[in-house]
Point group: C2
Chain length 379, copies 2
């Protein structure tokens, strides 16, 4: 008998009801059925993004929408500030370089959050900076950013846009786009949205739309202005990923039913339960500040290899957790608790982790981690 359990920060588990929707015979995208579904999806995405602006949908991974943000807002030579505290900060930098922008880097030690006062100081020193590129959650480290503080810094600057990669963050904690003054929010389907990968989302503030008017970089598939016009006519520029949008309608319905507040509270509880359990097991958190509500990164005890842990979890227990990326390979593992995950899942995972760590020679009192999680979950 084989049962599989997915604890990776994308893809994440998909509710059977959503899988069933996507398994229905496919419909054409220029039909009344699809139009009705799409107009509801557009409304529900505004609810999820907490914005009055249109949320654009692309058939792509999140990186596609990150690229579109660069090519639609900027022109060659434009200066941007990248907060680089992990693999996805590096992705902003690579994208800026690929399009001939001047990327100024604010290096953030992996495991720490970018300091808003550092961003503020750089923007004061260099008022030519037209974009601040951050991660809402840096998936590679499990660290979030203080979006509220960053919004307060960038909002008064008419010539600077605050651009947020919220691929692994949206839906896991409160990111009120309009209220915080975020100018671009990018996300994707395979995280808290409980869908397969293949849809990317982006929403732009009025300030960001203004930026698109002067951008001279080439764009076509990710042409935001063209997509906006089509979305407002309730259609899309190119053939949409129909089955994924059908799944999206179902997952957004579920999110509406739970409600954003309850959804954020659930993620916060699962994250806190996971962190307390890891502490009780004697494992150090890798995220030293603003730990993510969606993914917890954990340091391996000295002398033990996370690759081995991950292999045992997979081979013997059917559990997939994520490894460390880049220089963190072997040193950390990452447990996602985003989307279609509940306390049952987290408790079982913690218990299995205890067993495997005992086997690997780490000193754990069996049940200690689970007890710590239970205590929090009973609160």
């Amino acid at each position: 008998m084989e049962k599989h359990y997915l604890f990776t920060p994308g893809p994440t588990p998909i509710p059977p009801s959503v899988l069933a929707e996507m398994a229905k015979p496919i419909i054409h995208h220029r039909t009344r059925d699809y139009s009705a579904l799409f107009s509801q999806v557009r409304l529900d995405l505004k609810y999820l993004f907490q914005t009055d602006q249109e949320v654009l949908i692309f058939a792509a991974s999140g990186t596609g929408a990150m690229e579109g943000t660069i090519s639609n807002l900027f022109s060659p030579g434009d200066k941007v500030l990248v907060t680089r505290g992990g693999k996805f900060g590096e992705r902003w930098e690579e994208l800026a370089n690929a399009y001939g922008l001047q990327a100024r880097i604010l290096d953030v030690k992996w495991g720490y959050a970018p300091k808003p006062q550092d961003v503020s100081a750089i923007l004061k020193e260099d008022p030519e900076i037209r974009g601040v590129l951050v991660q809402a959650t840096e998936t590679s480290t499990g660290v979030s950013s203080d979006l509220k503080a960053l919004g307060e810094i960038v909002r008064p600057l008419a010539g600077t846009a605050l651009i947020v990669d919220a691929v692994s963050a949206l839906g896991t904690f409160d990111i009120p786009m309009d209220r915080y003054g975020l100018d671009v929010v990018v996300s994707a389907s395979q995280k808290a949205l409980m869908l397969p990968p293949g849809l990317a989302f982006t929403a732009l503030s009025p300030k960001a739309w203004k930026f698109t008017e002067s951008s001279t970089l080439p764009k076509y598939y990710f042409d935001f202005r063209k997509e906006l016009k089509n979305a407002q006519k309730n259609t899309s520029s190119y053939t949409p990923a129909v089955s994924l949008v059908v799944g999206l309608a179902a997952s957004l319905r579920q999110i509406r039913q739970e409600g954003l507040e309850a959804m954020f509270a659930r993620h916060a509880r699962l994250a806190e339960a996971t962190r307390r359990a890891m502490a009780a097991i004697g494992l150090e958190p890798f995220a030293k500040e603003l730990p993510s509500a969606g993914v917890t990164s954990v340091c391996m005890p000295a002398g033990l290899d996370s690759e081995e842990l991950i292999k045992i979890l997979s081979d013997r227990f059917g559990i997939t957790v994520a490894e460390g990326q880049g220089s963190l390979k072997g040193k950390i593992f990452r447990v996602a608790h985003m989307g279609f995950v509940d306390s049952y899942d987290i408790l079982a995972l913690i218990s299995v982790l205890e067993m495997v760590l005992v086997q690997m020679g780490h000193k754990v009192k069996p049940g200690a981690g689970v007890a710590a999680a239970e205590a929090l979950l009973l609160e």
Copy 2:
């Protein structure tokens, strides 16, 4: 009771077995299960594309891979020749313009195929042309191109690449990429591959890979060289559209089982049966030359509106066929017979068409179209 029948040139019907595969719990893309599946997919795609080259997969619509072809092969100011005989010829032109290429247009009357001798004459007159951009099948008109003849013209020219949009053509008729000397072949999932939209494919000849070395246009998500390196390591640059790739594995297995030759023969028979039926019903084909094996475009009788026909088919019979695009709106309709379609489907559709046309006032002898199709299918 509601039953639905899809006869559009993308999306096309999806086999229930493929839907069932995609409805299984999602797997992570950095696991042995996914790796094993992906390496088989890579082999099967080479079989389908009839090439020894790697076939790249992107989470995108076909247009994304068309854009990638422009941004990976060319540099600003490069001259290309676009054969423009429908909406997708126009898309090549728009893409070339978006990236600052000089697009020379060979205008082809809609409903006709580009003449290879015209292409040859232009290339002789202007040896600076670096790319010839064609459609294997122009989906908006249902006309194919003579790829064999075009390959013979372009193959000897070291500085010119033959670039083929085979989005709606691949799998419907024989397109032996390597044998014909095609330099880029682009396709997508939602046509003969019997999958939802959301995957784009592209394969490059050694000549085309050479072109990518000197290209200076910006690219990131559709960076072919990066994707090739990752594909050869059996992975992908960004999160793949896992559920669609799982479906792809199943549909390619089915294509292997049928065999390319039998698959092409089936498409040819269904197309010919459809054309003969339309003639027997007294409807003119819109494609005057090289009619597509995947989609048949049909002129409405004088005085009748195809929009009305399409509405009745949908409202009363649950049948979706495609309308005419651009200036052809109301004047033609298009019936796709690609992918998971057989004679049962086509015969029923012809019969319903007879009924609806009679109701709309067109003189049809009931059964005449079906009889013509039967005669061909019995051959």
